[in-house]
């Protein structure tokens, strides 16, 4: 900071403009010449930084991290003004961390005050990164409720550790969030995963932003009902991306999203989470999925499963247009066998664990039936080396991601562990190795 100040003083002292060749930043010089007929240099042939045109300064400032911009703003009045240019405040990420619960630094409270005072009407793309403490979530709500004269385009409430918004009194959270909904009127992207958002607040969202909303991510929001999300889908015809939990997914919702008035959906992300062991899950009709695919033939369906093995009953009975499939817990051979039969659009498959028997036939079937499959990750899933090689051979070069732990590859009479890297690399057309864990 000291250095910056010193340079600033010099710049202010030598105000005259003298032309002539000399050292300095040639790039800046060229630009200056283009923008201005007069070259701005002092007696020493130094560029007079003070008179840098605003738009150039803006360009430079846009490349600087906030802290550097803050230092630069102390150089001179002109730069200080530039620091506050609205263009630099359209996008801001508030980092709210408490020293007791996080290792990361937090956005300084003074800066937050200043932003609310001077720039809240400039903010358009705002996110809050919040650690696991309730205080941080509260601080985020306090800031939100002060954003009364702003018009946000995007808002993200992101819990970086445990979801702390869930610990707030619901009414407190809702009133802060609805301030933004009511005032913004042109929200296009909203990420509110793991928050206590509820049906009435979604109504407010729809009432004010239905023409602009394109993205809504609200996985694990327990206070929203299927009717609440249906209201969003019915009214927001521009919605292209949606993330929610399986209990909000209904045939009606899929039909609403595939209605004629609705734009093509691009991404639908569904988290299938078991609240209590042995839970019964509803089913989605094949005709509803078919309607979705007809309306949005290219849409991606991303499904994350966090279920106990015995809860998969209703799933993968009929064809489902899933493209990205993730099994976060152990899943049976049988279910994976069904995946091969019912998921023709599958692009990525990640299986964290399966039972004790190797997955051989299931993999072969998936290679055979899922012609789009280009990424697969297998965690604690035993596979015989032959079956694995056969799988890779069938998929060939289209497998751009292939991840399996070395320790689950079972050598057999055809291939040992030393051969498999060669065989697989040959079929993939690039060097490949299994993933390893330190044996220490």
């Amino acid at each position: 900071m000291k250095r910056g100040q010193k340079r600033g003083d010099q710049a202010e002292e030598g105000g005259g403009s003298v032309s002539g060749p000399g050292p300095g930043a040639p790039e800046v010089r060229k630009r200056l010449r283009r923008g201005d007929s007069e070259e701005r240099r002092d007696e020493d042939g130094q560029v007079d930084w003070r008179q840098l045109p605003e738009e150039i300064l803006l360009q430079i400032f846009q490349y600087l991290p906030l802290l550097d911009r803050a230092f630069a703003s102390q150089v001179c009045r002109g730069w200080n003004q530039a620091f506050h240019m609205p263009e630099l405040w359209r996008c801001f990420e508030f980092e709210l961390n408490q020293p007791a619960s996080s290792y990361l630094k937090a956005t300084h409270p003074d800066l937050i005050k200043q932003i609310i005072k001077r720039h809240s009407n400039h903010l358009q793309y705002v996110s809050f990164k919040v650690d696991s403490s309730t205080e941080s979530a509260e601080a985020a709500c306090d800031i939100l409720s002060q954003l009364v004269n702003c018009s946000l385009k995007t808002l993200g409430l992101i819990s970086t550790a445990r979801p702390s918004f869930m610990e707030l009194p619901k009414s407190h959270f809702i009133s802060a969030l609805t301030v933004v909904f009511v005032n913004s009127k042109s929200l296009s992207s909203l990420k509110i995963d793991d928050t206590p958002v509820d049906d009435p607040s979604l109504k407010v969202l729809v009432a004010n932003n239905s023409d602009t909303l394109k993205l809504l991510k609200m996985s694990s929001c327990p206070h929203v009902s299927p009717a609440g999300i249906l209201c969003v889908a019915d009214q927001c015809h521009g919605l292209r991306e949606l993330a929610l939990n399986y209990h909000l997914l209904s045939d009606e919702l899929l039909l609403a999203l595939s209605s004629e008035r609705h734009v093509h959906l691009e991404h639908l992300r569904i988290d299938v989470v078991s609240e209590n062991p042995g839970q019964q899950f509803h089913t989605i009709k094949k005709s509803s999925w078919d309607a979705m695919v007809r309306h949005s033939p290219k849409f991606n369906l991303v499904m994350y499963f966090f279920l106990y093995e015995d809860e998969f009953g209703p799933f993968f009975r009929d064809e489902v247009p899933v493209t990205h499939l993730y099994f976060g817990r152990s899943v049976s051979k049988e279910v994976l066998g069904r995946v091969g039969l019912t998921c023709p659009r599958l692009v990525e498959l990640v299986v964290c664990a399966n039972g004790l028997r190797p997955l051989d036939e299931e993999l072969i079937r998936i290679a055979d039936r899922c012609k789009q499959l280009s990424a697969i990750g297998l965690g604690e899933c035993e596979v015989s080396c032959s079956a694995f090689v056969e799988f890779v051979k069938m998929c060939g070069g289209r497998l751009s991601q292939l991840s399996i732990m070395e320790e689950v590859l079972m050598p057999d009479n055809k291939y040992g562990l030393d051969d498999i890297h060669w065989e697989v690399s040959k079929h993939l057309g690039r060097v490949w190795f299994p993933d390893m864990m330190p044996t220490w």
Partner: protein
């Protein structure tokens, strides 16, 4: 004036394969073997009783061996910087020898001692024996940066000549030439202290499984080789329930303290393999365990911040939680997950756990369940784990928490299923958590799911006699996978839907395929062109080729342009620091 040597033992607590000690003896008139220990520091240091016991036993064993050679071990109390000036004068020292320490802290300490010795006119001789290869040499061969993936490391190792052959043990004749007068009060002044002297309370050493010292190490080495010869199959051993228990053939603590020379281990394995397999050279995988150790030593040698997240250029910045209460539950084995608690109990009681068990508890503490920094876990291991070397410990923790080395983070171990897979009957749990011993197999990994009648019959009510699980694993793994994805997407600037693609690709490995030379040179990285049905057996797997023993060698040769690779690698790492930039935009795909 004659040559008066001091050999300074730190690690390398052995008389076999000890080149620095040989240098001390070489032409010397007197030799003193010294270990410096600060008893006042001992109590406060973050080192648990099992590690101290192991060290003291190793020192006792050294002293016993030296006595047989008519010499003694001098355990000098104090700090090296205070001890050496005193000792140099008192003993008229002219030569100081010690084993090279590649770790940043050790290098700094040794540099100061070497400077001091120089000022006292004492010659210093340093020999590298704690690792098979010189970490600096590997870094040099990788274009002056440490390899960041294990495969890359193996490829470099494959190009190196074999490690130096181990030296024989010190003989009576050698020692006879430089005998030292042992004073009558030697035991009083220089004896090996007891645990009590260091401030530890000891009660009945019933669970004392690992006995420190070179003698024990060499016996174990024989058992280890016998077992290998018995199996005669050098494939990765099948992991069974039995693997989880301390094995009488386990060697890792002995390598850590240098009671066993890694080179002796290496050559014994190699010779056994050649004898049984009649093949010219064994594959690298034979030395897996040793090489992991080398890998982490190499990664750490020039990185003083290797053991922390902040300021560590290879460590991904992850917004871990601060949660001392949860950390304590984990460290003390009170998580309510019997598999995790049994492992932590074994670690605390015995000082060693199997590597799969390490994976399980490390994953549980960090990215899997509790979302607590790997640094906290590393410190607990440092206190309790006998084989915890600074580099290996920090490196393993970074690896297991997916904080470095480009790991796929979806490999998440389930605290119930993972253990059950290894030990379906739960004998391991019954041994370390006797409270649960009467639970039926079905519930032993998840006692909270047992019906009340079963809990009562087993005399252990969950929530009363044994804790309830501290976390819902399904819920936490759902959250954590999202958190990891956030972190990695920022790092790789990847915005797509693929989970696997969020992890930056490893440039080191994304290189032209093998097959034969002409193909490799015509194809370029990234352009995935399937090689024409190439030679059915890759050239390097032919037994006749003496230099190319394992797949890595061949690949490495084809890789080419190493300089470009390293620069890419560096820029990747820089992303790590930029990832936390203020100007990050919320992704609004419009």
């Amino acid at each position: 004036m004659g040559v008066n040597s001091v050999h300074w033992f730190r690690k390398g607590l052995r008389l076999h394969d000890n080149p620095a000690l040989q240098e001390a003896l070489n032409g010397a008139d007197t030799v003193r073997c010294v270990y410096i220990l600060d008893p006042w520091f001992a109590g406060s240091a973050n080192v648990g009783i099992n590690r101290w016991r192991f060290l003291l036993e190793s020192l006792e064993d050294l002293d016993t061996s030296l006595r047989k050679l008519n010499s003694r071990l001098f355990v000098v109390r104090g700090q090296p910087t205070d001890v050496f000036p005193r000792v140099f004068k008192e003993w008229n020292v002219t030569r100081l020898t010690f084993e090279y320490d590649s770790e940043p802290y050790g290098k700094e300490r040794d540099a100061a001692i070497i400077k001091m010795a120089h000022e006292y006119g004492v010659e210093t001789v340093v020999r590298n024996t704690h690792t098979l290869y010189s970490p600096d040499r590997i870094i040099e061969m990788n274009n002056h940066s440490p390899p960041l993936t294990f495969k890359r490391f193996q490829a470099i190792v494959n190009r190196l000549e074999l490690p130096r052959k181990p030296l024989p043990t010190i003989t009576q004749e050698q020692m006879a030439k430089c005998r030292t007068q042992i004073s009558d009060n030697h035991d009083e002044r220089y004896g090996v202290p007891s645990l009590e002297e260091l401030g530890f309370k000891t009660q009945g050493d019933s669970l004392h499984v690992w006995k420190g010292g070179e003698t024990e190490a060499l016996e174990r080495l024989n058992k280890h080789l016998d077992r290998k010869a018995w199996v005669a199959n050098f494939e990765r051993p099948r992991i069974t329930a039995q693997s989880l228990f301390a094995s009488p053939a386990g060697l890792s603590p002995y390598l850590r303290f240098g009671c066993l020379s890694c080179r002796v281990f290496y050559y014994n394995l190699r010779e056994l393999y050649i004898k049984l397999r009649r093949r010219s050279s064994p594959p690298l995988s034979l030395f897996g365990q040793l090489l992991w150790r080398e890998f982490f030593y190499t990664a750490a040698t020039n990185n003083p911040n290797f053991d922390r997240m902040e300021g560590n250029p290879i460590c991904v910045q992850i917004p871990w939680d601060h949660n001392p209460e949860a950390l304590a539950k984990w460290a003390e084995g009170r998580t309510g997950f019997p598999w995790i608690d049994a492992i932590m109990t074994q670690l605390r009681q015995e000082g060693w756990i199997h590597h799969l068990a390490r994976h399980a508890v490390a994953c549980f503490l960090t990215r899997g369940d509790l979302w607590i920094s790997w640094e906290s876990g590393m410190k607990v291991f440092e206190e309790l784990l006998l084989d915890a070397d600074w580099s290996v410990n920090a490196g393993s923790w970074m690896w297991l928490s997916c904080s470095a080395f480009f790991q796929q983070f979806f490999h998440c171990y389930c605290p119930v299923g993972f253990g059950r897979r290894t030990d379906p009957s739960g004998d391991y749990i019954r041994r370390y958590i006797p409270k649960l011993k009467d639970y039926p197999n079905r519930y032993i990994y998840e006692p909270w799911n047992a019906p009340e009648s079963v809990q009562k019959a087993a005399n252990c009510i969950v929530g009363v006699d044994y804790p309830k699980p501290m976390i819902n694993h399904a819920e936490s793994s759902r959250l954590n996978i999202e958190r990891m994805k956030q972190v990695y997407q920022q790092l790789s600037h990847y915005r797509g839907l693929s989970l696997l693609a969020s992890v930056p690709t490893i440039q080191e490995e994304a290189e032209p395929p093998m097959s034969d030379d002409s193909q490799a040179s015509s194809s370029t990285a990234g352009q995935a062109c399937t090689p024409t049905p190439a030679p059915s057996t890759p050239p390097s797997s032919e037994p006749s080729s003496p230099t190319a023993a394992a797949p890595g060698t061949h690949t490495q040769r084809k890789r080419g342009r190493p300089s470009e690779l390293t620069s890419k690698q560096k820029s990747k790492v820089q992303h790590t620091n930029q990832a936390k930039g203020v100007e990050q935009k919320i992704d609004d795909k419009q």
